[in-house]
């Protein structure tokens, strides 16, 4: 038993070191450095808020909070999946010089993005407190939502990482998809502004359900609607199985592609 656990511990040690180093390098490990990371969603938020508050404000309850919740979640999804495409290349030296399960790279890349996401969520919660002025215990439900988002991100990452090793321009393609996705997710508009046919398309987007659930919890103080979240879970599971199958078949060949 002890021998079986050893590779797992080794992987864990390596993974946490990678996440840690990534974080330290990004912002020099300082609090003020972290403000740079926050600036990106903040600027988006300010621009979108000022652009749309006149149209959406009267129709959407608590538009500022509505917008920021949508944007913080989308930002995590977009940043994490984009980072996964290049994760093998960013650690080219390791792949060439040591033998280790390459899935460590995928998971540590997702966890690095999660790190930033959690910090953004802290800022979001402060903002939420200021706007709402009171705390509901239901807010803890945001934790399973974050875990579900991470599950979706990791599942997709296995597929994207594998494609990324073989196809040079997947980063470009994914960048375009993420830009389109920003508009195909109800971040700064609400679902009922769209025709029923268009609503159906938007409902296929897993991020729609994740963002809606977070808003149900934080803005309306309600339990999130389960069918949507079950859809996200099922979709992620299918992606994960697909991802792991293609990843395992090709991970041994990664080194020959670098």
């Amino acid at each position: 038993m002890k021998k079986k656990l050893k590779p797992l511990t080794r992987s864990w040690i390596m993974m946490s070191a990678l996440v840690n180093a990534d974080f330290k390098l990004r912002d020099q490990g300082t609090f003020l450095g972290f403000l740079w990371t926050l600036l990106h969603p903040l600027i988006y938020f300010i621009v979108l808020y000022n652009l749309f508050v006149k149209w959406m404000g009267p129709q959407i309850n608590n538009f500022a909070l509505y917008l920021i919740i949508g944007f913080v979640h989308w930002n995590f999804f977009s940043a994490a999946t984009t980072a996964s495409i290049t994760c093998v290349f960013r650690h080219e030296n390791y792949v060439k010089s040591i033998n280790f399960p390459k899935s460590i790279l995928v998971i540590s890349s997702a966890l690095s993005s999660l790190y930033i996401h959690l910090l953004e969520l802290v800022v979001l919660m402060v903002f939420w407190l200021l706007v709402k002025g009171s705390v509901t215990p239901k807010a803890v439900l945001i934790i399973p939502i974050v875990i579900l988002t991470l599950y979706l991100v990791i599942s997709l990452s296995f597929i994207l990482t594998t494609i990324g090793v073989y196809l040079l321009d997947i980063a470009r393609i994914w960048g375009i998809l993420m830009n389109v996705g920003l508009f195909l997710t109800p971040i700064f508009y609400s679902m009922d502004m769209l025709s029923p046919g268009r609503q159906k398309i938007i409902l296929l987007n897993p991020m729609t359900h994740i963002i809606k659930a977070s808003r149900d919890i934080l803005i309306d103080g309600q339990y999130p609607a389960m069918p949507g979240l079950i859809y996200v879970f099922a979709l992620s599971s299918v992606l994960l199985i697909t991802g792991i199958v293609i990843f395992r078949r090709s991970e041994g060949l990664f080194v020959e592609r670098l």
């Binding site: 080794r10 040690i13 030296n93 010089s97 040591i98 033998n99 196809l167 040079l168 020959e256 592609r257």
Partner: protein, 247 residues
């Protein structure tokens, strides 16, 4: 007792050209037209070697002879196209000195990071840290950023970390020649200690010089992927030198 490393008839083929990543359009074009830019290269052909526990073996040969590819296969980083490779102990690969070293981290942070890449926890590093510091001779500068180090200091720190953390079958790719004479002496003593503790060392070199000669009894000589000789280190090296000078 069975040898700890046993490679039988290892061959490795690379497809040059397809190795490059393609763009979406070029891959569609190649799939449709059926032509694929492909040149086959046999980097290794029929290589066999074995190493017993506690042995030190040199792999020599000119540049581009497939030495690094062979080590990647022994280290489990690549799989051979044909042939089998049995490795019956933990493997430590030292292919790049200071792997993962980052100039923006302090020397100490780099030691932790490097060790973590090899699955060694902070706690375990703390136990051997005094030896690493002592061996590298970096001393008071452990808290300094690596970018402030001279290249010699960096190499010594890297080597000190490596030598204190490896065990089992140790594969070393041309990193043995760092540091000044005094440091070389220390390295030699450390290698001798590793061998006495029952570790096995395989290393890539262009020559089996000086003190290493006393420890290294066997050598493998490969050229352009072909096995030229495997056996007594002195004889094999002699052959290598004759062949190289003769050209």
């Amino acid at each position: 007792m069975k040898p700890v490393v046993e490679a039988r008839n290892i061959s490795k083929k690379f497809n040059i050209g397809s190795r490059e990543r393609q763009t979406l359009f070029s891959s569609i074009r190649h799939t449709l037209s059926g032509e694929y830019p492909k040149v086959e290269l046999w980097a290794l052909k029929d290589i066999s070697l074995y190493a017993n526990k506690g042995e030190m073996i040199a792999v020599i040969g000119p540049n581009g002879s497939g030495k690094t590819t062979l080590f990647r296969i022994l280290g489990g980083i690549m799989s051979p196209t044909t042939g089998t490779c049995d490795v019956r102990d933990e493997v430590s690969c030292i292919f790049e000195l200071g792997l993962g070293f980052n100039p923006r981290f302090t020397a100490l942070e780099n030691v932790y990071l490097y060790s973590a890449l090899h699955g060694i926890s902070r706690k375990e590093v703390d136990k051997i840290l005094p030896e690493i510091v002592d061996f590298s001779g970096v001393g008071a500068f452990m808290g300094a950023k690596l970018s402030e180090f001279s290249s010699g200091m960096k190499a010594r720190l890297a080597f000190a970390t490596v030598i204190q953390t490896v065990k089992g079958i140790i594969l070393i790719d041309e990193v043995l020649s760092v540091g000044d004479i005094a440091f070389q002496k220390k390295c030699f003593a450390a290698i001798e200690k590793l061998l006495n503790e029952g570790n096995t060392i395989l290393f890539i070199s262009h020559s089996i010089s000086g003190e290493i000669k006393k420890l290294c009894r066997k050598a493998l000589y490969i050229d352009k992927g072909n096995q030229i000789a495997f056996g007594n280190a002195e004889d094999v090296e002699k052959l290598y030198i004759e062949n190289s000078v003769g050209k």
